[in-house]
């Protein structure tokens, strides 16, 4: 029976990545920690675990590499080697390499052999060993056929308390060949003095067969030191010296009977190479999640209550006959339904909780990011993290990672000044970057604060004017000036540093955050520092939506995007030569998007004054969406259109309404793009249509 242990590979990878995280965090915290030895021990154990596991599952390259790391750590924990900054830095790099190796093996990709060899070589140099000394395996050079062995086995009295049982050892021997046993009870004391837990018996065994000495010796592997053992070759009854192969006679040395055994050194190819797993398409995101049992228990309780409510309702339904739907019954039914609504809501909340993970998973990578940056730049920065237990949806967290990295890098690069500059301005040499997270309303708020140079408003403004994003005569509030930072193509970095990247930064960050249903703002005081505030919905799967109708079709507009919904006043409609329409909303002119045109559906109303205008916040300002009717508002579950179909411009997803029909969820940005491209194509059609009476 061959057991396939590849089913445990994923668990191994998971625990190894966790171990790596411990290693990295511990290494980063080493200098400050009092209990350095303890910390080193933890790091050692983590490396040891990875080494053992990777060897067990056949990932020999990983095992070899980790072994070198482990050796270095072992010396450190035994106080044979000082914990130097260089060693720590090298080990940090080694954890990077190891992480890469694990990922590469997990994804069935090629290993980065060069980097591995490089770092492994550095580790070996530090250890003072020749790189990759090949283990010279000595396998016992056994003789050919033997005819038998005589074994004298005299256990020491305590042998039994090692859990070793002579009988099982004899069984093993008996399996090797013909065996006869004779027992010697001379050492047995008188009954009164007999210690029942001790062994006073010894044995003499004769073993015949084609057996090598090593096989015999192996049986007594474990009891070395717990017994007296003599293994002697049986003398052949017939001396066949003439028949002996002349070549072998020289090698056929008599082996002195020993109690020492030659170990069967593990050959490296003893195990089959693990089959390269068939390439499977990479899952878009991690597909499993750890959930605390308490969350599951809550779920189980709620489902229980749901079942009770359901059976109560069905009972009501059953015993009802045609005539018995009276007022009393209806009241009971309504009670039951409201209970159902309560159960469903609670269940929904509980399930959403399952996808929630503490944001520490996202925050945890930053100590390393800050550490590395400080090394490269020479700046001194302290990272302060708070609110790391604040929970948010797993997928939201995965998607917020990149924007967070960009913002932290931005704070370090553009915000925090060099130590000299800081000292000159009376600030402490070490700058501070703060990461904070908390819940507010139905959202999670993440703040990235720095006590650096702050944002120079005038520079932003002049850059904005230069790029044509605002005109000189515009009067902007501070808020609006800072907001310019997030517009595409905006970068005030004089050179492009490799840390923050080009001007593609901030607008991409904002777009990513918007696509999660959130937003980002910045406030700053020059000379004091800046604060970036991100607001995100707690979950991606559910949306508060405004139901609207266009013709026969119903759509959902995300409530968070809606500024207001108004009836259209004819006087405020302005047409432009290109055929687009603008609506004067208080002080500003906003473009009108006729949904029925952009979506190519029939509308009930073509005259703007007959329908309604839903004013939404788009990427580049307010937009008015022209619809026939406003229906209710409701929470909808977002379902993907792409699972079975494809992404559709203007549509971000779909949902199933109470009556079982499908309603599409509008993607505001997409809709606006559609409208713009249609306007460009048919500049005059729209103008004509709007004149036509429906």
């Amino acid at each position: 029976m061959s057991i396939d242990i590849s089913q445990f590979h994923e668990v191994f990878f998971e625990e190894s990545f966790e171990g790596l995280e411990i290693m990295e965090n511990s290494l980063l915290g080493l200098s400050e920690s009092d209990d350095a030895l303890d910390v080193i021990n933890n790091i050692f154990r983590a490396a040891h675990s990875i080494k053992g596991g990777s060897a067990t599952f056949g990932f020999m390259e990983i095992s070899k590499f980790t072994h070198v790391m482990e050796t270095l750590l072992d010396e450190m924990r035994n106080n044979e080697r000082p914990v130097t900054v260089d060693a720590v830095e090298l080990l940090l790099e080694a954890t990077d390499v190891l992480s890469g190796m694990l990922t590469q093996v997990q994804d069935d990709e090629e290993l980065d052999s060069e980097r591995i060899k490089n770092v492994q070589g550095q580790l070996e140099t530090m250890l003072g060993v020749a790189p990759e000394a090949d283990v010279v395996e000595t396998v016992a050079n056994e003789d050919g056929a033997e005819s038998g062995w005589t074994i004298k086995f005299i256990p020491l009295p305590h042998l039994l308390s090692t859990g070793n049982d002579p009988v099982r050892m004899f069984r093993e021997l008996a399996a090797l060949g013909d065996m006869t046993v004779s027992v010697n009870i001379e050492a047995l004391p008188q009954l009164a003095e007999l210690e029942p837990e001790e062994c006073f018996i010894s044995w003499s065994l004769e073993l015949n067969g084609d057996i090598e000495e090593q096989q015999v010796a192996e049986v007594f592997d474990w009891v070395d030191g717990d017994c007296e053992l003599v293994i002697q070759k049986r003398i052949n009854e017939i001396d066949d010296s003439e028949d002996k192969n002349p070549e072998m006679s020289g090698d056929n040395a008599e082996k002195p009977a020993e109690a020492e055994q030659l170990k069967d050194v593990a050959k490296q190819d003893r195990r089959e190479k693990p089959e390269r797993r068939s390439k499977k398409p990479k899952a878009a995101e991690a597909s499993s999640i750890r959930v605390g049992i308490d969350k599951i228990d809550i779920l189980i309780n709620m489902v229980g209550e749901l079942v009770i409510t359901q059976s109560m309702l069905s009972q009501m339904g059953e015993s009802a006959d045609e005539n018995s739907f009276d007022a009393e019954r209806i009241e009971k039914l309504q009670d039951g339904l409201s209970q159902l609504e309560r159960n469903t809501r609670e269940l929904q909340e509980a399930v959403m909780q399952i996808r929630m993970l503490p944001i520490s998973f996202a925050f945890n990578r930053f100590p390393r990011v800050v550490h590395d940056y400080c090394r490269k730049s020479g700046k001194k920065i302290e990272l302060v993290i708070s609110g790391e237990q604040t929970e948010l949806d797993k997928t939201v967290m995965e998607k917020i990672n990149d924007p967070l990295v960009h913002l932290v890098r931005n704070s370090m690069d553009h915000g925090v000044e060099t130590p000299e500059v800081r000292l000159a301005s009376g600030k402490p040499e070490t700058g501070t970057v703060m990461l904070d997270a908390y819940h507010k309303g139905g959202s999670i708020v993440i703040e990235i604060k720095d006590d650096g140079a702050g944002i120079n408003k005038d520079r932003i403004l002049s850059k904005g004017i230069e790029k044509g994003l605002v005109s000189e005569s515009d009067v902007l509030t501070d808020e609006q000036v800072f907001d310019l930072l997030f517009l595409p193509g905006f970068s005030t970095a004089k050179e492009v540093t490799d840390v923050s990247g080009r001007g593609v930064g901030m607008d991409v960050v904002r777009r990513n955050i918007k696509s999660l249903g959130g937003n980002i703002e910045v406030t700053s005081t020059e000379g004091k520092g800046s604060t970036f505030t991100i607001r995100l919905p707690l979950t991606l799967a559910i949306l508060d939506g405004q139901l609207i109708r266009v013709g026969n079709e119903m759509y959902i507009i995300p409530l968070t995007a809606i500024v207001e919904s108004i009836q259209i006043n004819e006087d405020r409609i302005n047409g432009i030569a290109s055929g687009s329409e603008l609506y004067k909303l208080r002080n500003e002119y906003i473009p009108v998007v006729r949904m029925h045109e952009s979506f190519g559906v029939e509308a009930e109303f073509h005259e703007l004054t007959k329908g309604l205008l839903v004013v939404v916040e788009g990427d580049e300002g307010k937009v008015g969406i022209f619809v026939d009717r406003l229906l209710g508002q409701q929470q909808v579950v977002i379902k993907s259109l792409e699972t079975n179909f494809k992404g559709v411009p203007g549509v971000s997803g779909a949902t199933i309404l109470g009556d079982g029909t499908v309603a599409l969820i509008v993607d505001i940005a997409g809709l606006v793009s559609l409208a713009q491209s249609k306007a460009l194509k048919n500049p005059y059609d729209i103008a004509e249509q709007s004149d036509a009476v429906a």
Partner: protein, 120 residues
């Protein structure tokens, strides 16, 4: 067949060992470190203990000592899961009272053949 206590802080190792032993018809009790192992072993009739050496809270060597002090475990076979480089650990293990060892890395077949040596 036998009830085996498997102690290892590595999830993947523990799962692999547990699965292999269960496939062979044994009952398996698991623990992630020495402390858990002692707690979990109470009141159960254990025929064999498999324990890793390097574990947090209480390592394998200490666990062997603690187990041997319990009347139920005086003669129970206890096998240490050691790595090749830990030659002196084998001696330490024996000194603590371990029955024998199994060298990591091992595959399921090696695990089972070693188990069978002890359980017969």
């Amino acid at each position: 067949m036998a009830t085996i206590l498997a102690v290892d802080d590595s999830n993947s190792m523990r799962q692999m060992v547990s699965f292999t032993l269960k496939q062979a018809g044994h009952d398996v009790v698991e623990a992630a470190d020495g402390v858990q192992a002692l707690a979990v072993a109470k009141g159960k009739s254990i025929n064999l203990v498999l324990s890793d050496v390097n574990m947090p809270n209480m390592n394998g060597i200490e666990l062997v000592k603690e187990l041997r002090a319990l009347p139920d475990f005086k003669f129970t076979p206890i096998l240490m899961l050691t790595t090749e480089s830990g030659a002196n650990l084998k001696q330490e293990g024996k000194a603590a009272g371990a029955t024998g060892w199994l060298v990591k890395p091992f595959n399921p077949e090696q695990l089972l053949s070693t188990i069978n040596r002890v359980l017969g």
